[in-house]
Subunit: 349 residues, 2 copies
């Protein structure tokens, strides 16, 4: 589509203007010359009204639908940026329902003055993460808010996935005696963000663990394992995720500190900053809860994927008291783990 | 679900804290005590991972999927607020694809310091608009950004709808000779917002036209009319919508000023402010393009719904030049209508 006026092409050195959000030629130019070519989405039309989509033929008509807004600060960090985080986070929310991610939307809230070069980097990151996860970016929206009323950019991604299995994956399916698997080491994303924000220097940068988890999840399901419940560890970390699951299932959980991997640098940073890694956010980690007798087979499946190669069984589900989470320390003492009252780390996703 | 600590209930006089967005007890309390009871959504669980949904049995597996972020300023205005706008806008995007709106997500980006009472008003408005449109709020997300990095609240709504008809509704279906129907008077939403923002006083407040359009759209389809294309008039108004459709279809359009209703107060305000109502945003108006011979029947169908009771035929589609939009003035002169280069009114939705 051509535009009949002579407003210059947005250069990387240019910045976002309020007019880029108001539906006129500037908006169209931003979309046609930067957003759509970078996202390689099919057309302006498809992007800007509803996308019209046909479910895969093998779909049984059961869908997963999720939304998340991303406001992480800083926008760029070792191991990722707000763009790939926004894709991986929503892909993971779909995967946690046992769904195959199919479609994703990208809603941008840009602040006037954002350098076009930064927007382009974020869009490239969105595209790369979507391609890696096999999801199609099918619809989008771009708004601009005035200087001082945003923080560069916020991204909302919503996702639709197809649920192909028959299992009811969720806290209602958890049973006493089930095994709790953790897909990898914890705390990297939160510590990475905090280190960037506070200007902490380590010998080598701690990288975020942001990653998509749908492939190992679908492999667990395809292997015929009775996946009872899945939960990705985001805000509030491992402790909050398990605590929420136990409150919802009215069961209890016992976990072992010795089986919960924390990278040495992450542990060091947490000690220095007074953080408990149990509560620190991850963006590419999950817990999977399955019958105890399937635990070994599940770990074997997870070991095939690099993102879950270090998965371990970290504990088991008990009969109660409802919502109780107990941690057995490395020296064998046991303590109750509670939910955090307020924030440990704001704006980590 | 009960929470095991003594953080007080959020009172309307309280304000949003950063901790309300960080995934701990405060987040859960905000959700359990304000967001979920107000939205009457089924469960925290359903809200916070993916919602799991079954398509209606009569669905053919064709879906519409759309997203929009809402950053309107001010948040409350005569005739509506950011909450109902966010629901109606997304319902309309689904309707414009000929889809029956089914599910909607609500993603909130709250600014630290937002009064809880305002949040509650917005949530109530979201709920009321969703009920009126017959869409279920099935999933959501809440983030908090620090003071000075937002504007009270931004809302993203994404929607999924079921396409029941077999028509390809879109610019590719438009044909030369088709009739262009406009569903009501134009310019009210944009002028309403601008009047509020600039503190302009009229004898009686100009109310936004925000409304859901899916009922008349579905009635057109159910009446067996060959709806070629639908487009709601948002940012950029009637002129931008038609201009975009003509660029996409590679056809031209001729419209008649005398048939385009503009309320007297809106016209007066536009003259005073130097605005052309053709470009002023609406949030409850659409154009419908159909074969000329079905125009009368379509108007009869639209007349049954209050939101489209004043629909009129305003012109017709021509064979080109591609993208050309011509306006015949009330005195019979003709002029070309172009797209606006920048913004006329920023942040109207």
């Amino acid at each position: 589509m051509t535009v009949q006026c002579d407003i210059p092409f947005p250069e990387p050195k240019d910045t976002v203007l309020l007019g880029h959000g108001s539906g006129g030629v500037l908006t169209q130019r931003l979309l046609d010359q930067l957003v759509l070519p970078t996202l390689q989405s099919e057309s302006y039309r498809t992007m800007h009204d509803s996308a019209t989509l046909d479910l895969p033929t093998h779909s049984k008509g059961r869908l997963a639908f999720t939304t998340d807004s991303y406001v992480v600060k800083p926008r760029f960090f070792p191991g990722g940026d707000i763009g790939c985080l926004a894709v991986n986070g929503t892909v993971n929310d779909l995967a946690m329902a046992g769904a195959r991610p199919i479609w994703i939307s990208v809603g941008l809230i840009l602040e006037e003055g954002l350098p076009m070069g930064e927007l382009q980097r974020v869009l490239e990151s969105i595209k790369k993460a979507a391609d890696a996860a096999g999801v199609a970016i099918v619809t989008g929206d771009t708004k601009v808010v005035d200087r001082g009323h945003g923080d560069g950019l916020y991204i909302n991604t919503s996702g639709v996935g197809s649920i192909e299995g028959d299992m009811a994956i969720g806290p209602q399916s958890i049973q006493a005696g089930d095994s709790i698997l953790l897909s990898g080491d914890i705390g990297r994303h939160g510590v990475c963000i905090l280190a960037e924000r506070e200007g902490l220097a380590f010998e080598s940068a701690i990288e975020s663990d942001t990653a998509a988890l749908h492939s190992p999840v679908l492999a667990l399901i395809e292997a015929g394992l009775n996946v009872r419940c899945l939960r990705d560890l985001t805000r509030g970390g491992l402790a909050s995720a398990l605590k929420e699951l136990m409150l919802a299932s009215q069961l209890s959980a016992d976990i072992r500190e010795k089986d919960i991997a924390v990278e040495a640098r992450v542990r060091g940073a947490c000690e220095m900053l007074g953080l408990d890694p149990l509560y620190v956010a991850n963006e590419g980690r999950m817990v999977a809860i399955l019958p105890q007798e399937e635990s070994e087979r599940a770990l074997e499946v997870l070991s095939r994927f690099s993102v879950t190669a270090d998965a371990r069984a970290i504990g088991k589900v008990g009969e109660g008291p409802a919502g109780q989470l107990t941690l057995e320390s490395k020296i064998g003492t046991r303590r109750l783990v509670e939910m955090l009252p307020g924030e440990q780390l704001p704006r980590i996703c």
